[in-house]
Amino acid sequence: MKKIFLIFITCLVIQFVLTGKWASFNDQITDLEKNISFLKEENDKVELQIASLVSISSIEERGTLAGFTKTAAKSLEEFSVALRR
């Protein structure tokens, strides 16, 4: 009778401890999921900012503002070819 009572108490304690542990695991998982989602969002934001800054049109605009100009076209006569209709 005593043994059964001891086993019952032990099981109860184990269940109590495990339930607490698993509950905290769940919290950790939720935290991780939140972090993942936050990082994804930040990543998207950074990707968007980089893309806006280094797009060809914005680089061209900055180049022009900085005083860069297009190189002169080569002479047409140098490489003449003939075409018909």
């Binding site: 893309a51 797009s55 047409l76 075409l83 209709r85």
Partner: protein, 559 residues
């Protein structure tokens, strides 16, 4: 007394049994229905919109991203300031929508939209105003880092009848199922007034983001094509124009430029006609560039040999009461087959088509893919169709030999001519190279569609097209040291049963380097005003873009 107690006992027992029975009915038999009813009363569900897939160019640069966007709403039950004051406070943020300060607020509703399309920055500024009763709803809209670059190719995301987002035209339309993802579902409890109770939210189903598309489009070449096209339209006074560049060895679309274009961010304010991509959604009579297909077919089936001479090229030809002349009314008796292409000789082409015959001509067109969809992965492709073989008259064969009286789409003609560059093989044009999601990469393999001509014929035709570029009268700049194969075209525009005497469609199609083609390109200019000829408008534009491609792809000159 005992009888009355007995009756009372029976009544109590029956009452108890009735309660037990009713409880059993509610909790076991009718439980599901009641549970649903209860949930509907205190629980509400909302969709979690899935992030739409992004679109990247071949250098992994994003062409289409998603940007956070906010809608501002007011809860009239909580708002404490008059509407006029609210309108004044929000005035700096108003774009298209306007708040009417004279309008009275309906106090029965809890949600009334005020403004949409606000940025995160604007949202923060409004929050700082600390106006009680204002709320925000987050959504995502498409963001285009390269602005309206390749607008017709990308398409746009609009709203459908159910106020849901949906892709229309181009890639957004064609890959709607891949891009849209799967919306999730969250549920939360609400109070008696229908307001959500915080901390009682439950995500029932997570949203699955849409797949990302990685294109074959080379961003630098796309930019160059659009820039040169814009300059070309201004320089030659053309009403519109389009350029398509393809890798002939696998059908990958490298660039696709069309002007005039539209801004996909403001699509609703643009002319809907501009949504269409003319390279896949419009037909034209190709003119002289079609001679390449006819000549290749005739050589391939053995109807003519490269050593043959044209016995009927000394003057105009009369066919079914129509007089067929050359473009400049110059005639070259005993022209060689190569001369016919080099001189772009209409009379010579009639001779070639007659040797080929209607039956073989028709079969050959089919093999090159005319009369059917190219199956390019863009929404909106049309099929020009071919006239029934039985209805072909002598004059139809004659005019088709130099590209008149036959309608094609630009993508059909480039796909067909690319077969010469790829030693006789026709590939399905493809814009998307890879499809990505969080779990897998799906590569899109090249699809070989047909083998309309032999390798030998392709080599002969390549040499002929190189000569067409090298020899002749009109002088234009070609990048030095490169062998380029190409053909000019000047097509007339049919109007009400005849051809417009002044307006033309100028074009140039070709590929380079001729010995090992890395790209094939078609340039079309509609109604150029400085000159009606393709040689004086579309061809120089073609060479300018080709020079950029040689530089960008580091293709070295060979002589």
């Amino acid at each position: 007394m005992s009888r009355r107690i007995k009756i009372l006992r029976i009544i109590l027992l029956l009452s108890f049994l009735t309660i037990i029975g009713k409880l059993f009915f509610w909790q076991v038999i009718d439980s599901e229905r009641l549970k649903t009813l209860a949930n509907l009363q205190y629980q509400i569900s909302r969709e979690i919109p899935a992030d739409r897939g992004k679109i990247y160019s071949s250098d992994n640069f994003p062409l289409v991203l998603n940007n956070k966007n906010y809608l501002v709403y007011v809860n009239p039950q909580i708002l404490k300031i008059p509407l006029a004051d609210l309108a004044k406070a929000l005035k700096p943020f108003l774009k298209d929508s306007e708040i009417n300060p004279d309008k009275s607020l309906d106090k029965k509703v809890q949600w009334m939209p005020l403004m949409k399309n606000l940025t995160e920055e604007e949202k923060k500024q409004i929050e700082e105003l600390k106006i009680e009763g204002l709320g925000f709803e987050e959504s995502k809209i498409r963001f285009y880092p390269e602005s309206s670059m390749s607008a017709q190719l990308l398409g746009f995301v609009g709203e459908n009848a159910e106020s849901g987002r949906k892709g229309y035209f181009g890639l957004e339309g064609y890959y709607e199922n891949e891009l849209k993802g799967k919306n999730g579902l969250r549920s939360f409890n609400q109070d008696a007034l229908g307001r959500p109770i915080p901390f009682l939210e439950n995500i029932e189903e997570k949203s699955i983001p849409g797949r990302d598309l990685y294109l074959n489009i080379d961003r630098s070449i796309q930019y160059s094509a659009e820039k040169h096209l814009k300059e070309g339209l201004a320089k030659y006074g053309a009403s519109s124009g389009s350029i398509i560049i393809m890798n002939p060895k696998n059908g990958a679309i490298v660039a696709m430029a069309c002007l005039p274009s539209f801004d996909p961010r403001k699509y609703s304010k643009e002319d809907p006609e501009l949504y269409k991509n003319p390279l896949i959604s419009s037909v034209f009579e190709p003119g002289s560039i079609f001679k390449v297909i006819v000549m290749a077919s005739a050589i391939d089936v053995g109807a003519i040999k490269t050593t043959d001479k044209c016995p009927l090229c000394s003057g105009p030809r009369s066919i079914s009461n129509y007089l067929i002349k050359t473009w400049n009314e110059k005639y070259y008796p005993n022209s060689t087959i190569e001369d016919i292409i080099v001189h772009s000789d209409n009379v010579g082409m009639v001779y070639v088509a007659e040797k080929l015959g209607t039956e073989k001509f028709y079969e050959s067109l089919k093999k090159f893919g005319f009369g059917e969809f190219t199956k390019v992965d863009l929404q909106g492709e049309i099929n020009a169709g071919l006239k029934d073989k039985k209805n072909w008259q002598e004059i139809d064969l004659a005019t088709a030999s130099f590209g008149q009286g036959i309608a094609v789409t630009p993508i059909q003609i480039l796909t067909a001519i690319s077969a010469i560059a790829s030693k006789g093989e026709v590939y399905q044009p493809q814009v998307v190279g890879k499809i990505f999601d969080s779990k897998q990469i799906i590569p899109i393999k090249p699809i070989k569609k047909a083998n309309p001509i032999s390798r030998t014929t392709a080599e002969v035709m390549t040499e002929m097209l190189v000569q067409a570029v090298e020899k002749g009268e009109a002088k234009w700049a070609k990048p030095k040291g490169y062998k380029i194969a190409g053909k000019t075209g000047t097509a007339q525009i049919p109007i009400k049963g005849h051809y417009d005497p002044e307006k033309t469609i100028a074009s140039f199609v070709g590929f380079a380097p001729a010995n090992d083609p890395k790209f094939s390109m078609l340039v079309i200019l509609n109604e150029p005003k400085t000159s009606s000829w393709g040689s004086e408008t579309a061809a120089p534009l073609w060479f300018e873009i080709a020079a950029d491609i040689f530089r960008i792809w580091k293709i070295a000159p060979v002589y």
